[in-house]
Amino acid sequence: MSETSAREKLVVIGNGMAGIRTVEELLKIAPEKFDITVFGSEPYGNYNRILLSPVLAGEKTIKDIMLNDLQWYADNKITLHTGETVTEIDRKNCIVKTANGKTAKYDRLLLATGSNPFILPVPGRDLPGVISFRDIHDVDLMLAAARSGKHAVVIGGGLLGLEAANGLMKQGMRVTVVHIMDWLMERQMDEVSGAMLKKSLAEKGMQFMLKASTREIMGSQKVEGVKFADGTVLEADIVVMAVGIRPNIDLAKKVGLHCERGIVVNDTLQTFDPKIYAVGECVQHRGQTYGLVAPLFEMAKVCANHLAAYGIGMYRGSVTSTKLKVTGIDLFSAGDFTGDENCEDIVVRDASRGIYKKVVIKDNRIVGSVLYGDTIDGAWYFQLMREQTNVSDIRDKLMFGQAHLGDSGHGGNVVANMSDDTEICGCNGVCKGTIVNAITSKGLFTLEEVRMHTKASSSCGSCTGLVEQILETVLGGDYSAPESKPMCNCTEYTHEQVREFIRTQKLFSIPAVIEKLKWKNKDGCASCRPALNYYLLSTWPVECRDDPQSRFINERAHANIQKDGTYSVIPRMWGGMTTPDELRSIANVADEYGLKTVHVTGGQRIGLYGIKKQDLPVVWKKLNASGLVSGHAYGKALRTVKTCVGKEWCRFGTQDSTGIGIKLEQLTWGSWMPHKFKMAASGCPRNCAEATIKDFGVVCVDSGYELHVGGNRGVKVRATDLLCKVETEAEELEYCAAFIQLYREEARYLDRTAPWIERVGFSYIKQNIVENTKKRQQLAERFRISQQENETQIDPWVIRSTEGRDQEQFLPLKVIA
């Protein structure tokens, strides 16, 4: 590469998982910015270190675990020096130098030197046959030893040691695991689960010596045995040292970078020399070092962002979880699973089935969990923990698992037991085998990447949990599930952060947001633009104007697009009521336009199908004439208000449920929301209008009205929570308006009320709507104001038919005969 290149020079020291991940992230966002040179001590491209365990166990080959082969470096114009260890950094002149005398100049330097295995300082430690478990070379040594020797001693009963022991056993060796503590994996397991783990492994043939302190490794030419403090001696052909890792900071220390246990970095992954960044196991961030890939990948993302000079995104530390990659053993551990005097434990133990589950709770939030034997809910607990969800409402159901929270059909699947041709994603027809294949062959780690490569879970998302479980089973350890997900690929900011900016910075348009927050794509994308449009309108109902080009076609055309490009039209039937006149005009339109399909929808009204876009305005005009208006069946907005006939006719009816439904619909129609919103009012607890599966439902009783919120009957069924009981219709309308406004102001775009409530906790809703009268009134008032702005309650069909606005979109630009 020429010295005169206009690009800046980035040098990466360490060709491992964190370093190369950072390079990949950088290439995604700023492919032209740097000439990149990578130095790696190991003689390979970049491989997936996590999968060394299955390689040792004979379940995978080295070829399977390559992430980036040499061709990838060439394709991306990266200069790679393998087998080259950097030994010097001239920080003044910005030059690095390897042991073999190779040099490279840098403008920015990235240290990603990983860690070194710790070797116990006992006599005999240097004998041939003492092996660590860190890289391909170590695995080669172990595999060779397994061919000639019989006895292996693994020192260290942690994650790494047990995976090594399992692998060696699979290679036919007799293996003893030696551990200094009272139980295995004491950093991830409590005493009970540790003992259960030991029992299962012992049943597979593994032997153990606990509370054993190694004195000496015996042998003259090579390893022959191990001697312990109590005098015991074990025969050994190899000794695997897996007693821990130490961040590899030798080089950084030598050149005067500030190090403690690791290389100290700030929230943007910079060391004390601002030209030098560091990521991976070698760093210490806010006092923490990490030994799992998920946090390293989060670091990589932030670091790349700063190298690219975008300057947004901070790394704030990670919460991690662990799994053991030993086939047939299910364990999961995360967070603080021992707790202190301020914590409570919930424990379920079923010794006969070999199941143990413990969740540690502090201030109504999960702070840690250990699961053994049944780990299906690991991902769920971990999510509740990371998102700091208040679990007081689901406490009593917590231990039964997510499947018992009203999830019909999608929960409770054990993906590990599924065959490869089991369909996981029903929308895109993606099978388990395809996903597993993509994860291993393309080196995927995150849900996002699986979506990108296979489309699984990229549509309705109901299989997200399953895909996450597959990621877990395949990768074993924690896959990268960042704590707060960015809104989309255009930005690092979360939905909440963007909303906050819009509010505090008084941003009134999409271009303003994109400019201020330095979006990567200048026009945004199909996923953020509709969200931004909504956030702007809901935050500034008076100041902001709608942007039709940022709406999905349905909302832009005020009708639902069908698979053949025609549209459906569904007029509103207030509270499920209609009249002969309305029905006549529907019938006339159907006749006049030869519409084959007239469907009674799932929402108590009538849908007309197969209308050409250019005919929409006239069809609307005809419907308008009999008083029919848009039913917003296409919008993230109020859809239907289902009712039963109620007191007027029904012998059990206690109140005027139909009238209530109509009033609710009149109050709330037209308002834009994060997602669609459905209501119902039933005249008595027989609940014929199914109010307890709606976003907001009213069940009438003799003494008043029960108000229910957060129901859903689509992808995942959820029954409502009972918000409260009120006595008058006026109260009922106020609660409804307040609830909708809270949802409008705080839920993420495309959150239905059900997932939103599960995230923030039902108590939070209750506090704001029921307990805090002032807050409720303010919310209801803000809703009332926003209903009067931006033509919210003017029928969009009338505007586009009789008033003739926005005609171009319905007409062809030109017709060429």
């Binding site: 199909a526 832009r556 490009g565 979109q809 630009l813 030109k814």
Partner: protein, 104 residues
């Protein structure tokens, strides 16, 4: 041999939007992006034939309204991991006027 047909002006198409030209060979979507560049594609997504003219325009790409495939407005190619291509038509601008060539 080119055969340019005038179909309208840049102002006739909303920024980051599209309009349709009805032609004997089927509908053709005419797009306008933020830089006022004009593109023309057969109004048929390579996936299942969705009308690309009804999608969201960003950069030089349009996202299909049906199942969110992203299609390059320059060459009609679907963006990876999807595969497929929509026919591209030649367009040129003369001042504000848009000309389309159905043969190319």
């Amino acid at each position: 041999m080119s055969n340019w047909i005038e179909v309208g002006t840049v102002q006739d198409i909303p920024k980051l939007g599209a309009r349709v030209v009805q032609a004997p060979q089927g509908d053709i979507a005419i797009f306008r992006n933020a830089q006022d560049e004009i593109f023309a594609l057969a109004d048929k997504c390579p996936h299942k034939g969705g009308p690309l003219s009804q999608g969201l325009v960003h950069g030089k790409t349009v996202t299909c309204p049906m199942h969110n495939w992203k299609i390059s407005m320059e060459n009609g190619e679907a963006v990876a991991p999807d595969h497929g291509c929509s026919r591209v038509y030649a367009v040129k601008l003369d001042g504000e006027k848009i000309f389309l060539d159905l043969a190319k």
